[in-house]
């Protein structure tokens, strides 16, 4: 189990199956700093998508690993308290919508920032819980407001997004309050981009790891385009797909594409070397 399950799971199988993590106080005149800053992610352009500035990139280019690691730890530490995410499978996401309320479609700040996606085409994010009443109350601030979904509609939308190849992630707004169920991809999702390219863990791997049964794999390569985390490749000399299990974030999108059922989602905890790789 991950650090967050230990801290906030309270006996539930996963911290994101604990209903308490979807509840938060609706009304408080003055919020404590942590709670307040969890809500301050720029909902219009996700802070211009730059989790770290150019100076960080210059340090990486220079090879100053000591400074780089210092900044990484600072950014991660702050993110883990206010706003960070974890990858979940489609099945887990479907379970999540069963236990919380309300759920709505909202516009995606990342896609707006990355490609200027017009609001009409940009409702790929899902917001959860009491925070959505804020979005309903101030649609102008939150560009496009909310489109509340029934449970059935929510599950349908999630399944469609998954078919498209988007990855489901859960995001906190003031940990452990889970307010966002995002549908991510690389590189237009700030979180995936930042963790895959810069190694800054504002997005945690999921509780599963995908593994290929090479005997069942028939080399069709249908899975290869499904990976948003650079973990999956094709090996022509074997005519088989290959998953770097240490890179795999456990989203399950490759497994759902495989006609041969050759990709299995294993519990991360059952693989000793991967159990603490988050």
């Amino acid at each position: 189990m991950c650090d967050w399950c230990e801290k906030y799971g309270d006996g539930y199988e996963r911290w994101y199956f604990n209903p308490a993590n979807y509840a938060r106080r609706l009304y408080k005149i003055r919020k404590e700093e942590t709670e307040a800053s969890g809500a301050e992610v720029n909902p219009q352009v996700a802070g211009g998508m730059a989790v770290v500035g150019r100076d960080f990139l210059e340090l990486v280019a220079k090879g100053d690993m000591e400074e780089v690691n210092k900044i990484k730890q600072q950014v991660e530490g702050a993110a883990w308290v206010t706003h960070f995410g974890q990858v979940v499978t489609l099945d887990e996401a479907l379970r999540v919508v069963d236990i919380m309320y309300p759920i709505s479609l909202i516009s995606c700040a990342c896609r707006r920032s990355m490609s200027g996606a017009p609001d009409e085409e940009n409702f790929v994010c899902m917001g959860m819980g009491p925070g959505m009443y804020k979005w309903e109350r101030w649609p102008d601030t939150y560009r496009g407001g909310v489109h509340f979904l029934t449970l059935e509609e929510a599950k349908e939308v999630l399944t469609k997004m998954n078919k498209r190849g988007l990855v489901h992630t859960l995001f906190t707004f003031g940990t452990p309050y889970l307010g966002g169920l995002c549908n991510c991809d690389y590189p237009d999702c700030a979180a995936i981009r930042t963790v895959v390219d810069l190694g800054i863990r504002i997005l945690w791997k999921g509780h599963y790891v995908a593994r290929i049964d090479e005997e069942l794999c028939n080399g069709c390569a249908s899975c290869v385009h499904r990976c948003q985390f650079k973990a999956l490749s094709f090996v022509p000399s074997r005519d088989k797909a290959y998953i770097d299990e240490f890179q795999c974030f456990g989203c399950g999108n490759c497994a759902s594409e495989c006609d041969q059922e050759a990709i299995i989602m294993e519990e991360r905890a059952s693989l000793p070397a991967l159990a603490t790789v988050w």
Partner: protein
């Protein structure tokens, strides 16, 4: 090598509706931000949206963004040794 990417905001007035550089860049280097924080009750005016270089580490120096900008608002240079 990291480029210096400058966008002349006097020339780039409506990035939210133009979007040409954002859609042309094959490495998704540029991003939209706002030069004011979000406000309750108000939609951030499109004129407050700005384009800036974000993912400098991915810029190959192809200059497609410079060429596609109808206002010639973008400059990309690789001098400076970094």
């Amino acid at each position: 090598m990291l480029p210096t990417i400058t966008v002349d905001y006097k020339k780039c007035k409506e990035p939210l509706s133009c979007r040409k550089c954002l859609l042309t860049c094959s490495e998704h280097v540029l991003g939209l931000g706002t030069d004011v924080p979000p406000k309750k009750f108000k939609e951030t005016d499109p004129e407050h949206f700005i384009v800036a270089g974000v993912r400098f580490d991915k810029c190959s120096g192809c200059m497609d963004c410079v060429e596609v900008c109808p206002q010639n608002a973008i400059q990309v240079s690789f001098s400076g040794g970094m």
